[in-house]
């Protein structure tokens, strides 16, 4: 396939995927798009929302649409790392055999990940980054494509273990799952309480996903757009050379370099989805919130002022846009 055909194929595949997911998941367009972008960019997603908003449904539907393995892990405080990764079991034949844990799937839903202890969380996070688990000194490669979708509940924080910043950084996107509107809710009710449930068809394969990831990496990024994206990352640091005012006021630590990688990768997927061969600044702006919101460590002042991470990201984007002017003044 040449470039044009590749782009066409990608757009078609992703459009089909989106449509197939849309048969089951009503509304939540941004979340669905975010998940698909992270899937194409080979990233993991942290979903934050109230229970019952369709997070599990979304990941199960996605797995069905691409005909890949799917596992769901409900994290609890007493869960051990072996419960996630698997363990060596002594068999009747007299030897040890490795029993794979739920992490060995293409799509893993880590439900309420913040309820597990840090030890258990870290076992999952190692798998996310290294795409392997080490048990008894033996590394075990995870299957490709591999994607973790973790969820956490913004309420009921008592007895939870918030994810450390280093571990949050491993997630490509953090998506906020909003409460559905009344119309969406009505549609959800109608679809789930009457007639038969919609069935999801397989519209893509594991190879297609891998192919899609390869194509998105080829999307061009001009120096100006790259500079624009990096300006955002730099502006998120309060002690950088060009911090934004809002970051200086409310941010304790800014985005890591992984954030820069993520924002460009996300921009590339967005560009492909929009039928372009280059990343635009608009794509970067669009990727800014899901990429940066969990990578910014806010200070106490933001908490006191009730300033959220999204507001800080908006401020950073505005600051960078203000410095990005038309080179020709007429």
């Amino acid at each position: 396939m040449n470039g044009l055909e590749s782009a066409e194929w990608f757009r078609k595949t992703w459009t089909n995927l989106r449509a197939e997911i849309g048969k089951v998941v009503v509304g939540q367009e941004e979340v669905v798009e975010g998940v698909l972008v992270a899937l194409a960019a080979n990233g993991h997603v942290l979903l934050e929302g109230m229970p019952g908003l369709g997070k599990t449904l979304l990941i199960r539907t996605l797995a069905q649409a691409v005909d890949l393995d799917y596992s769901r892990i409900q994290f609890t405080p007493d869960m051990m790392p072996a419960d996630v990764t698997g363990t060596n079991v002594f068999t009747q034949s007299g030897g040890f055999e490795f029993r794979r844990g739920p992490i060995f799937a293409n799509f893993v839903l880590a439900d309420e990940i913040n309820r597990a202890t840090p030890k258990t969380q870290s076992s999952l996070l190692e798998a996310m980054q290294e795409r392997q688990v080490s048990i008894g000194g033996t590394p075990h490669q995870l299957v490709e494509p591999f994607m973790v979708m973790a969820t956490q509940n913004p309420v009921e924080q008592e007895g939870t273990y918030p994810l450390p910043e280093a571990q949050l950084d491993r997630f490509f996107f953090k998506l906020i799952v909003p409460n559905p509107s009344k119309a969406v809710l009505a549609e959800v009710v109608n679809r789930t309480t009457q007639g038969e449930m919609a069935t999801v068809s397989k519209v893509a394969s594991a190879d297609d996903l891998i192919q899609a990831r390869r194509i998105t990496r080829e999307v061009s990024v001009s120096p100006e757009v790259l500079d624009y994206a990096l300006s955002m990352i730099v502006a998120s640091h309060p002690d950088s050379e060009k911090p934004s005012d809002i970051a200086r006021k409310y941010v304790r630590y800014g985005s890591s370099p992984r954030g820069a990688q993520s924002i460009i990768s996300a921009g590339k997927v967005y560009a492909m989805l929009e039928g372009r061969f280059n990343v635009s600044k608009e794509n970067i702006q669009k990727a800014a919130k899901p990429v940066l919101r969990h990578r910014l460590i806010l200070n106490y002042e933001s908490e006191a002022d009730g300033v959220t991470a999204d507001q800080v990201v908006d401020g950073i984007v505005d600051a960078v846009n203000a410095g990005d002017k038309d080179p020709i003044k007429v």
Partner: protein
């Protein structure tokens, strides 16, 4: 790639056009604003800025702004980025430019995509020629400028009286301006900086007059001050010219002397050659002595203000320099005439010398005294009384010399002088003769005031008439000199018609006796009274007694005053 670049060139040209448009308006805005500021500064007399120059400034700024706008660099990449931004192409063009030769997977598709989208965009839609805030501001600034230059300066809102006053002041301003121009174009200035400064002050003065900033009294005072400055400059100019001429002459003489090998016999043949004369001529022209605009300066200015008294003052004071210059000119003229009379010159040399002589003659005429002065002097000298007075003065001078040499005057001489004095006195009793003399003197003084006679000449003339500055007579008229107070102990008998008296008294106990002599004779020089003291003594004594009795004299001096007058009275009686 070429197609993309060609497409971008369309946008580049459009950008230049719009920049030219914008630059022209910005230039007009800046120029008009600057011109308004300069006009305001001119109005406040901070500097001189003619109104027409403001429009020129605005126009030039417009053109310069347009040219700068057109020629400002416009890079291809900048145009691409700008087009992406303005046309919403989402960085397609700039990315295509960057990735054109990169060999990336999507490079070709990216370029095609950019060309396709760029083709749908019209340059004039992205870069329209607008009439916006900048243009409005420029128009406003231009309107303010025109208002400042023309509307404020017209007479629409003035009453007829104000208009007349303004017209009068404008006329005066025009005169001042004319003087300023003469001053500015004057050559050979001794101190160009000072002349420029004076010209600037004059121009400012003219502006103040034009705008009615000064009342008449202030204007007169200022004009007076400026005239004084002009006078100083004029003197400096003349001094410098004189100095140059002297140097030049000395140098010429030295050269000639050296040429003559130090032979004194040959010095009589010393003449200025043609080159030297031309150089001298140039010097005169350079010095501006033949033009002397500054002499007219205060006259014109004061005349414009209705007061030209100080002009003559300036001219009078510079007369000494003129006199010196005239003498040097005369010397140069004589040398030219001598050279012309030798006859061994070529036709060309002769013409050149004649031309120089003519120039010098004209210049010399300017430096000579006016006809009015000569006429007044002539009339004075031709008066019968004046001639007799001169003769009498001469005789008195001889008598004085004779007395100083120790030879007493003969009776015959004394008799002759006495007769002449009486005759002159009789003539002066005639009101007509007295009036004629007075008129002649008045005219002379008037000439002096106007600067046509220098102080030295006037003094000489007064001396000739026995009216020296100390009242004792000049050199010529000093027939009576200090044979008076306390020089000789004995009274002098001059055997005149008048009665000679002497008073003796004690001036001071320590200093001994003093003698006071008084000659009762016709006043010759007008400084001594002809009234006998015993006629006035009673009046003085009465006044003194009144002062003593009214306690106007301090107690300790009262007795002294009484004794003094008693002695005077007694002494007079004794004699």
């Amino acid at each position: 790639m070429k197609l993309l670049q060609q497409q971008l060139k369309r946008f580049g040209r459009r950008v230049r056009l719009v920049r030219m448009w914008r630059g022209a308006w910005l230039g007009l805005l800046g120029g008009a604003a600057l011109a308004v500021a300069l006009v305001a500064a001119d109005y406040l007399l901070l500097l001189t800025f003619p109104p027409f120059a403001s429009l020129i400034l605005a126009g030039v700024s417009l053109v310069v702004g347009g040219v700068i706008g057109f020629f400002l660099p416009v890079s291809e990449l900048s145009v691409a980025q700008s087009v992406d931004r303005r046309a919403g192409l989402e960085d397609r063009t700039a990315s295509a430019l960057h990735k054109a030769d990169s060999g990336e997977f999507f490079a070709g598709e990216l370029e095609v995509d950019a060309q396709k989208h760029l083709g749908d965009v019209q340059p004039k839609r992205l870069y329209p020629i607008r009439f916006g805030a900048q243009q409005m501001s420029a128009c406003a600034a231009l309107a303010v400028l025109v208002t400042a230059v023309y509307v404020v300066d017209n007479d629409l809102l003035l009453t007829p009286g104000q208009k007349a006053a303004k017209a009068e002041l404008k006329e005066a301003t025009a005169q001042v301006e004319r003087v300023v121009r003469e001053l500015e174009i004057g050559e050979g200035a001794a101190d160009k900086r000072a002349e420029k400064k004076l010209a600037a002050e004059l121009r400012k003065f003219g502006k103040e007059l034009e705008r009615g900033r000064l009342d008449r009294e202030e204007a007169m005072q200022k004009a007076q001050k400026l005239a004084e400055d002009a006078k100083k400059l004029s003197e400096q100019r003349l001094e410098k010219a004189q100095e140059k001429m002297e140097q030049f002459q000395a140098k010429g003489m030295q050269e000639k002397f050296e040429e003559a090998g130090g032979d004194l016999e040959m010095l009589k043949d010393l003449q200025l050659d043609k080159m030297q004369m031309e150089a001298l001529n140039d010097l005169m022209r350079e010095s501006g002595a033949d033009k002397m605009p500054s002499n007219e300066l205060d006259q014109n200015m004061m005349k414009a203000l209705g007061a030209d008294n100080s002009a003559s003052e300036m001219a009078r004071l510079s007369e000494a320099q003129k006199q010196k210059l005239a003498e040097q000119m005369a010397q140069a003229q004589r040398e030219i005439q001598q050279k012309l009379s030798e006859g061994n010159l070529s036709e060309e040399q002769r013409k050149a010398l004649e031309q120089q002589a003519k120039t010098m003659e004209e210049l010399a005429k300017k430096l000579e005294m006016s006809e009015d002065v000569q006429k007044a002097l002539k009339e004075l000298q031709e008066m019968k009384e004046f001639k007799e007075m001169q003769e009498l003065m001469e005789q008195m001078e001889k008598a004085q010399q004779q007395m100083q040499e120790g030879e007493p005057l003969t009776d015959e001489q004394i008799q002759q002088m006495q007769e002449q004095m009486e005759q002159l006195a009789e003539q002066m009793k005639d009101p007509a003769a007295k009036e004629a003399m007075r008129q002649a003197m008045k005219e002379m003084i008037e000439q002096m005031k106007q600067g046509n006679i220098d102080a030295q000449t006037m003094q000489q003339m007064m001396s000739m008439m026995g009216m020296g500055p100390d009242g004792s007579g000049g050199k010529q008229g000093g027939a009576y000199q200090g044979e008076g107070e306390n020089e000789k102990g004995d009274p002098m008998e001059l055997e005149g018609k008048g009665k000679i008296t002497a008073i003796r008294g004690e001036r001071d106990e320590k200093r001994g006796q003093d003698a006071y002599s008084e000659i009762k004779a016709p006043t010759m020089v007008g400084s001594r009274t002809s009234v006998p003291y015993d006629k006035v003594l009673p009046g003085y004594k009465k006044t003194a007694e009144s002062a003593v009795s009214n306690n106007k004299v301090k107690g300790k001096h009262r007795d002294r005053v009484r004794e003094y007058f008693d002695q005077l009275s007694g002494g007079g009686k004794d004699k």
